[in-house]
Subunit: 117 residues, 2 copies
């Protein structure tokens, strides 16, 4: 993920799962769409690579945070849809909380007096 102009950055590894779960709060969606939603809502600051996206989706399914089923996309193509499970919802809360805590902590170290908003 995260590219656009300068590739990688290595920063923020581990946030992709959280963003996928967050996206699924808006309703079931298939991989391709999830990636597009993340890219657009981030104002194209993030770019979700397929090589990151699909392994992430499988990971989330293995952990029972999402479930999947085959269906047809908006373009009438075969597509695997993902749905947030109850476990996934809890996980999303945990990760969101952790994310806020961590960004605040780093903000403190970086000397941003406001901390995380």
């Amino acid at each position: 993920m995260l590219k656009k102009k300068q590739s990688n950055s290595e920063m923020l590894k581990g946030t992709l799962d959280m963003m996928i779960l967050r996206t699924l709060l808006g309703g079931d969606a298939h991989g391709h769409t999830i990636a597009k939603v993340i890219e657009r809502t981030s104002e194209d600051l993030l770019e979700v690579e397929q090589g990151s996206l699909y392994p992430a989706l499988h990971r989330l399914e293995d952990r029972r945070w999402v479930s999947s089923y085959w269906g047809a996309s908006e373009n009438n193509r075969k597509a695997k849809f993902y749905r947030l499970t109850a476990k996934g919802r809890k996980q999303l809360l945990r990760e969101t909380s952790r994310w806020r805590q961590m960004t605040r902590a780093i903000g403190l170290v970086m000397g941003e007096e406001g901390g995380a908003q």
Copy 2:
């Protein structure tokens, strides 16, 4: 890094280098001190493991972002001090900018209207 109670989190990988560089803005320091400073300024939300710290310092030195020299610590022990180089300063600016951009982007995806302040 980042533990305290619940270990890891896997989130935020790649920010350690930035925090080390930031810490060295305050003046030369050796590894042990750098770790303590990061822990304390983060209000103990972050924990810097030795197995992360020293490889990171070597990494930064390989990239010429810091230079090192042997000296004596406050406790009269042998210690390797690190100093931010001109290249390191530029890198710190780049990483800080990138960090702000990325947290803002993720904030957008997570639906935090304020974005990263």
